[in-house]
Symmetry: C2
Subunit: 213 residues, 2 copies
């Protein structure tokens, strides 16, 4: 789960050229306002005007910094993803050592990072349907999990410790889909959710049965 530097930065040209002026503070102000507002109301109920006023600028000026409301959210998500990457550290490369403990730690950290930005995650869940950029970035995050799981499955199969079963990637996708949905339910409060403290245990149980049986 290390290094991504995705979307937003390059995908959506920001408008401001080489910025060394105080313009950067404004951008941060907008971002800050957005996350603060998102803790109070839904993304849909926040207008560009709200964001602009919150940052102490007018609506047209907002467009100088971001091309749209969605771009703000995308940047916010980008920041969270980076944070998660940093938190995950090199744990991924040391999975083989002690699978159960490592997986648990990895999931735990992911949980902690994203749990610290519920408002952002919830907003992303909300616009996921309509915003392809958000969907793509989220898909990229998930893809890394899928690959990690796939690698674990293959390693296990090479060791001869697990039966063949379905193609490793398909199985990995299915297993990760479980995470994804459960995380959504947990972070965005969307759908039936298991008691939070038990989430990791349940996920692990199913994983281990499917991968390491």
């Amino acid at each position: 789960m290390t290094s991504s530097r995705t979307a937003a930065g390059t995908a959506t040209p920001r408008g401001r050229r080489a910025g060394r002026t105080s313009g950067d503070e404004r951008e941060q102000a907008i971002l800050g306002t957005a996350e603060r507002l998102l803790e109070q109301r839904a993304f849909t109920d926040i207008s560009i005007d709200d964001l602009a006023r919150g940052a102490g600028i007018s609506r047209p000026t907002f467009y100088f910094y971001f091309p749209s409301k969605d771009a703000v959210l995308l940047t916010l998500l980008d920041r969270v993803v980076e944070e998660a990457d940093a938190d995950a550290g090199d744990l991924l490369d040391r999975l083989a050592e002690d699978p159960r403990a490592r997986w648990r730690e990895l999931i735990d950290r992911f949980h902690r990072t994203f749990g610290g930005h519920r408002a952002v995650v919830a907003a992303c869940a909300q616009v996921r349907g309509t915003n392809a950029e958000v969907r793509r970035l989220w898909a990229a995050v998930m893809e890394r999990w899928v690959q990690a799981i796939e690698a674990a499955i293959e390693a296990e199969r090479r060791r001869g410790a697990a039966p063949a079963g379905p193609p490793a990637r398909d199985l990995a996708i299915a297993l990760n889909s479980m995470n994804e949905r459960v995380w959504y339910a947990t972070f965005a409060g969307d759908g039936p959710s298991v008691a939070e403290r038990d989430v990791v245990d349940v996920l692990l149980d199913v994983w281990l049965a499917a991968i390491y049986r």
Copy 2:
């Protein structure tokens, strides 16, 4: 998965009183236009005016039949859910007989019914974030799957054929989350998706490992 009669009908008062006139045709025309249009463009890109014109009425008249664009989609989803219920038949009650075959058949039928209305499912996936009614109806559908899985787990545990593991309901939720996500990917084309013909096999494999191991 039998009988639901949820939302839409009662939750959203339609506006027309006791209708025996041709008003019902209009309602059907709107519904038909909606599903047809959804096969061409995204829900968001369809305006109420499009729906109205497609049904041969004016925009204000549309409001006579439905309180909003979302209500139309909800009714559409309602119809699909009813169809799925009918298709599932009594299969649910006969799960114990031959779990693997029954589960497979159940999942297959679900797949077939919803696959026949991809446009509607995709639209629901799109507004799921913003529309609580759609979310609720979908959650109700999923809840029935969760309960079925939970029952299977408990039956299996009572038989002493499977180890204790996590609480049956939590496990059921986790397993069903997998279905849900995979279905979304398959029907709505959102997210990484395994080859369609293999979906059922992969799901079943993980299930069986977790439930019947």
